[in-house]
């Protein structure tokens, strides 16, 4: 630690030499990105040398990369020098002290989603200690996990406590130079989640980011690493149906999953970041790289996502099916309303023998929004007996929204099977008339029809999440009728 303090002091001194002023908000870096910023970030976090080296390597690589433009989305250029790359978690005294200080509109939404009262406060960013005893929450989940040998902590903590695992697996699925946003993340990630399930262990509970309240405000460049050892199982829930308070516009997260022999990882996401207003002003850019490596034989990686938020979503949770008989799944509901844009889908890379994958994608476009499915199914020469089934359905609401499908298939193996089905439909006037003639409100009718359309995906979500997801669609579709 003494060494780290020295480094920090040195850096701070150097900043002053460069004429930076940091006294006003000591916990937030001034906007800008260069090697010094990365050194400072690493130092503030007290990281070991290997992490700093890793970040610097990523940064240098990133400098040579161009921002991708192939996605079917349009947005003004992001000025990466105008972003602050570190902001310390807010101090309790800076947060709202009670729900009375929180935007009533936000609370109204929570109520509609049926979120329990104590959770509402935490989500609204009320100082946790002022609301409930965070220690008790922590212990209720920490004890059974510790007993099972499961490691569930922030990635910063893992860097210190389990450097050997971090060194071995960080970047093993999404290499630092994988793509522009993943590379930026590697250089600058502020925090994230680390999960390790030991051999033969079935994780005794569904792990949710919600439990890790201290890390809820980890900023825009999150990094998640989940490792499932031989014969283990874990179900991980990311995000929340409630709109989260967030001041960062750009989110460039990276998620890496590693499944060894006979291991299973189920990763469920509900993404409801701020989508911008009904005129398309504001909103989050969600540029995420998510990938799982099914390394072991008979391993399985399953992605389920419900994406309703963000102004722009650019996201392709993928599976590399390397192990023999390994299985990849992707179940997705992506809903866009108003001026939202989504370009999302998956990649199933079949490398091992008898690997199989299933893709079920449901895209819903309302308002002026645009929703694209983009998927790659690839069979390597060794993917003997591999098979994929893809079904992608689009539902249009109104006559100003758009749906696009971009499926790519690359097959280098003759003994593999790929099936692709795609449909585009509309919520028809006849369906609406039937519902309304039976006394059902138009908005409730649309929500019911959309929920019916998404049923195949919702049934993959953990029970409680599925109910919330249904309500979330209802809230997200508000104003889409008429």
């Amino acid at each position: 630690m003494a060494n780290t303090d020295k480094q920090v002091n040195e850096l701070i001194k150097r900043e002053y030499e460069h004429g930076f002023v940091t006294d006003i908000e000591a916990d937030t870096f001034e906007p800008g990105l260069n090697e010094d910023v990365i050194r400072r970030l690493s130092a503030v976090k007290g990281e070991p040398e290997f992490m700093l080296e890793w970040r610097l390597k990523a940064y240098r690589r990133w400098l040579e990369m161009d921002e991708p433009e192939w996605a079917h989305v349009h947005y003004p250029k992001v000025d990466y020098q105008n972003i602050s790359y570190y902001s310390a978690p807010k101090r309790p005294e800076d947060m709202p002290q009670s729900l009375d200080e929180v935007d009533p509109e936000l609370l109204r939404t929570y109520e509609k989603l049926g979120i329990p009262l104590h959770e509402r406060a935490a989500l609204a960013g009320v100082a946790v200690d002022a609301v409930f005893d965070s220690v008790s929450v922590a212990t209720t989940f920490k004890e059974p996990l510790a007993k099972a040998g499961v490691i569930f902590c922030s990635i910063s903590e893992a860097v210190h406590e389990h450097p050997e695992l971090v060194k071995k697996y960080l970047g093993s699925v999404v290499p630092i130079g994988d793509n522009f946003f993943a590379c930026l993340n590697a250089a600058t990630f502020s925090d994230g989640t680390f999960v390790y399930i030991p051999k033969g262990v079935r994780c005794p509970m569904e792990l949710s980011t919600y439990f890790r309240i201290n890390a809820a405000n980890t900023g825009q460049f999150e990094r998640t690493l989940i490792i499932a050892e031989e014969g283990s199982y874990v179900s991980y829930l990311e995000g929340c149906t409630a709109p989260m308070r967030d001041e960062n516009q750009l989110h460039a997260a990276v998620v890496e999953l590693v499944a060894l022999d006979d291991a299973q990882i189920k990763y469920s996401t509900v993404q409801n970041w701020y989508p911008g207003d009904e005129n398309g002003i504001g909103g989050i850019y969600n540029f995420v790289t998510k990938r799982g490596a099914a390394i072991g034989k008979n391993s399985k990686i399953s992605w389920t996502q419900v994406e309703t938020g963000s102004a722009i979503t650019w996201k392709y949770p993928s599976c590399i099916l390397r192990g023999e008989n390994s299985v990849g799944e992707f179940y997705s509901v992506a809903l866009t309303n108003n001026y939202q844009q989504a370009d999302t889908g998956t990649k199933m890379i079949h490398l091992g023998k008898n690997t199989s994958s299933t893709i079920i994608s449901k895209g819903i476009s309302a308002g002026h929004s645009s929703n694209a499915y983009r998927g790659l199914v690839k069979f390597g020469p060794g993917a003997e007996g591999a098979r994929n089934f893809t079904q992608c359905d689009s539902l249009l609401i109104g006559d100003r929204s758009a749906a696009h499908t971009f499926p790519y298939i690359e097959n280098k193996n003759k003994n593999s099977i790929v099936e692709h089905e795609a449909t585009t439909s509309k919520v028809s006037d006849e369906q609406m008339f039937l519902c309304r003639q039976r006394g059902i409100d138009p908005e409730q009718a649309v929500s019911m029809i959309v929920n019916g359309f998404c049923k195949e995906v919702f049934k993959e979500l953990p029970m409680e999440f599925a109910v919330e997801a249904g309500k979330l669609l209802e809230v997200s579709l508000e104003g889409s009728v008429g």
Binding site: S428, D429, E430, Q431, F433, L434, C435, R436, Q437, R438, G439, I440, D441, P442, Q444, M448, I449, N451, G452, F453, C454, K455, E456
Partner: protein
């Protein structure tokens, strides 16, 4: 209950209804007959509030209030029910969920407590037997993969659950074999009461053997050209529409 005065309506600029006058009182059963293209279905759609049709003239009063001012769902909550000629499918939405949502919308409107899933399931299973539908149909998507006859019975099931004050049956007999026709007719007869009225739109007389109307009206070219008692239906069956001066070329 329902009073239609000089009702004119058009679709895509083409006038279909050209001045309909009709009085329906509680407890009555009315049948509207007429050749294809005479405006029978349009009349039922307009009463139910289909926005594809534009009312250009006239008024419709329900219990003295202007029905045409109300949204489709408000009319339904006031007790207007339309059994569709071609019921549409809603994939993925279970019949059970759809029906419960509808029933609870009406209950909410009447200030009654909503039915929970278990209560409703019991009611729906009972009622489905009444129209000879296997309760398994309740789990399937609304009309999804139903045969023509199943769809029609499903419409009557909905009428029985929603207990409308005015049930409008749009060609409910079309495409039914004689057994199914009997089931559907029994369902409609079970609905009849002194507080309710039924308006049947049909091309053929055979439905009227099972549901005996108090009044029969003949619709031609957007107007009611003749009204009478149930005996009028038999006369039409025997003599066709020609003797009324109606060109039934489309129908034949």
């Amino acid at each position: 209950m329902l009073s239609i005065k000089n009702l004119h309506a058009s679709v895509e600029g083409k006038e279909i209804l050209k001045g309909i006058n009709l009085e329906i009182k509680a407890g009555e059963v009315h049948a509207i007959m007429g050749p294809n293209g005479s405006g029978k279905s349009t009349l039922s759609q307009v009463l139910a509030g289909n926005e594809a049709f534009e009312v250009t003239e006239g008024e419709v009063l329900m219990d003295g209030n202007n029905l045409l001012d109300l949204e489709t769902e408000e009319r339904a909550r006031d007790g207007i029910f339309l059994a569709f000629q071609y019921p549409v499918e809603i994939p993925g939405v279970s019949n059970m969920q759809f029906l419960r949502t509808a029933v609870n919308s009406l209950r909410r409107h009447r200030g009654e407590e909503e039915m929970n899933a278990a209560e409703f399931m019991k009611l729906a299973r009972e009622t489905s037997k009444q129209v000879d539908l296997d309760p398994n149909f309740l789990k399937r998507g609304v009309n999804e993969g139903f045969s023509g006859g199943e769809k029609k019975r499903n419409e009557i099931l909905q009428a029985l659950l929603l207990q409308p004050r005015l049930a409008i049956l749009d060609e409910t007999d079309s495409g039914l074999d004689i057994d199914a026709l009997k089931v559907v007719a029994d369902g409609v007869n079970a609905l009849k009461s002194k507080d309710r009225a039924v308006l049947m739109v049909t091309h053929y007389q055979r439905l009227l053997n099972h549901i005996v109307p108090d009044y029969v009206h003949v619709l031609a070219d957007g107007r009611i050209v003749k009204s009478g008692g149930s005996e009028l239906a038999f006369e039409l069956e025997e003599r066709g529409y020609g003797w009324l001066g109606i060109n039934d070329a489309v129908a034949s």
